[in-house]
Structure formats: C-alpha cells, structure tokens
Symmetry: C2
Subunit: 196 residues, 2 copies
C-alpha cells in the first residue's frame, strides 16, 4: 500500500527479481508527470518490467481507470503480479506476450508508456499512433542511442505534437568512511508527445 | 487551471517575472514526490519565488490542506499571488517577510519545502525542526556547494531520519538547422528527510 497522493514510491518498496529492470524512483516520477494522468484513464505500460510504472499509474488513474501492463518476459509478468498484490491494486491487467501483437487487440488508450530497452521501440511507437486517443500522451523511456535516434525520426512522421525531449541524470549519495560521495547513474532520455 | 491529477505543470504555464526564480518542471516534480503529500496537509514553501512549488503542492493537498508560501522579495510575493489566481486556488496563504521570523508564528507543518538559494538555509532548517510534526517531511532544493555542506552538517545533529540526497541534472532538446541538440541545465541537489 502507498498512502500518499503523490507518485514517487521508493525503489525498495517494490518486489525485485534478478535481471528484471525497474524504472527508478526519480526517473519514474518524471515519466508519470509527463503522462499527465487523471482518474478514469486507460493506460498501456509496454515492457512493464517490475511493474513500477504500472503501480504508480494505477494509483493516479484510480479504480475508474485501467492499466494494461505488457511484457514478453514471464519473470517480469510474475514480478508485476506480485507488486500489484503488494500494493493492493485491482485496476491493472497483466498481459504476457509480444507487444507488437498484443497491442492490436487492446481498447484505445489515453496514455501509453513504452519501456526503455528492446530494438522494437520504433515499430511499437508506430502501432501506438493508431491506439492513442486524440490528445492522448505517449511517454517513452530510452537508454540506447539507436533507439533515441529511431524514435525521433519516426515521431516526426506520425500524428504527434508538443514533442518534449528530456535527458535525466541522477546521482545518489553514499556514505564512505571519510564522508559523503555522489554515485552517478546512467542518463535516461524521456520523450513525450501528444497525439494530434 | 491544471486539469490533471499528476504534478508536472509545464514551466510556460506559470506567470513569470524577471529575476524571480522558478523551480523548473522536472526538478519540481521530484521535489513534490519527495514530500509525499496527501489531502489535508499543512505545507510551508519557504522562498516560494514564482510560486510553482506552492501551486503544485496545493493541488495535491486539495482544499482540506493549506500551503503557507513565504518570500522576502515583494516581486516574488506578487508573482505567487498572480499564479495562485491563474490556477484558481484558494488554499495558499502568501506571507511577505523574513522566513526566520515568520516561521515562528506558523502552525505546525506536515511538510516543509525550502528553496535553493540564500545563505540562511542552515538556520531555517534548524527552525523547521521544531515546526515539523513527527513523520513530517522536509525537502530542500540546493544549488550552492556551501549550502549543501552546511545543510548536511546540520541535519546530522537534528531529529531527522531517512536522509536522501539526490542530485538531478536535466538537459532539454533544442532544434538547430542541422539537427537536435541537448542543452544542459545546472545540477540541483535535493535533500529530503523525515522528522523523527
């Protein structure tokens, strides 16, 4: 359970599994904010990993909304289910499979999150164009340079406006025997845009 | 008006004035998340500047809560008032004066935001220790190295736990005639902690 209204659940509140990525707290909070959520919305979380984005989105859209969390990795799906149970949520449906096929079957979305890895991001963005409602938001977390380039290229050709590109670099403190040092994390680029 | 539930109002939605700082969207969103807000809370925004943190906090704590926005700069106070009006909020009280004096008169807080400048931050943190309720949150945005050092020193001596130090560096894209470049902003360090 998360008893606050604001997003930003600490990473260690989530169940974790080896090799399943998590969108870390600060980057997650920015992604959730770029989505501009409100109660009742339909949200896809494509490449849900640990489910942290699904959980935070589900809390924002409340029980009148629905999150559809998709991953091709069975361990990620099981982990997302464990986190859904941990946070006591009933408005997330978990879908195991290839997003490029599964998306076609889904109802239209108000918001689509796309996870930051996988070589298919460009194709998934193209498919999402047809599944997003007018004024719907797409939020893409990107780690790879190749993905960043291909998503930028494809967004220009699709029906999106207000494209925002934000690179986020977070450092966190660690106590050493002699003082406090900052440990850098890798930069993440968040692209968000509005469906025309 | 902001019609979404999530924080993250774009910077250009706020009224601005020359020389009055604004906590920019992405850093603001992380600060709001670190505060862990919920409806009904009492929040101080010390050094409110443009009022962007006050506005976002007021939306999260709803009409049952109250934000007390303090600044010594009259232009900042007037600007905060204009933004309160623009966003149609009625749960923010604006206080013009020196925070070190004004804080003493205020009711106890659930959350205290402290702005990122001014050489008085250490003394204000000390005063805030006595105004924060048990389990209340303090969130300090820091730009200066000297402030970072002095706040870290003082927090160790006061009744705070779960001290988190997060440095945030944001870059935003700009279109040039030949492509898309990233423009770096200055790093901001956000210290947050819980009152024991």
């Amino acid at each position: 359970m998360w008893k606050f209204k604001t997003p930003g659940i600490p990473d260690d509140e989530f169940e974790r599994a080896e090799k399943v990525p998590i969108t870390k707290e600060e980057v997650r909070v920015i992604q959730i904010s770029k989505a501009r959520l409100k109660p009742g919305q339909i949200v896809y979380d494509i490449g849900c990993g640990s489910g942290s984005i699904s959980i935070e989105a589900a809390l924002q859209i409340e029980s009148s909304g629905k999150v559809l969390a998709i991953d091709y990795d069975e361990t990620a799906i099981e982990l997302t289910k464990r986190n859904i149970e941990k946070f006591g949520l009933t408005n997330i449906s978990v879908i195991h499979g290839n997003a490029k096929e599964k998306i076609l079957e889904l109802e239209e979305a108000d918001t689509i999150f796309i996870g930051g890895t996988g070589g298919d991001t460009k194709e998934i963005v193209e498919l999402c164009e047809n599944k997003l409602k007018t004024n719907g938001r797409i939020v893409i977390g990107i780690i790879l340079i190749e993905t960043l380039y291909s998503v930028l290229q494809v967004l220009e050709k699709l029906q999106f406006e207000s494209v925002d590109i934000t690179q986020v670099t977070i450092s966190k403190s660690r106590k050493t025997t002699t003082g406090t040092m900052m440990l850098a994390r890798n930069p993440v680029t968040i692209i968000s845009a509005t469906r025309i």
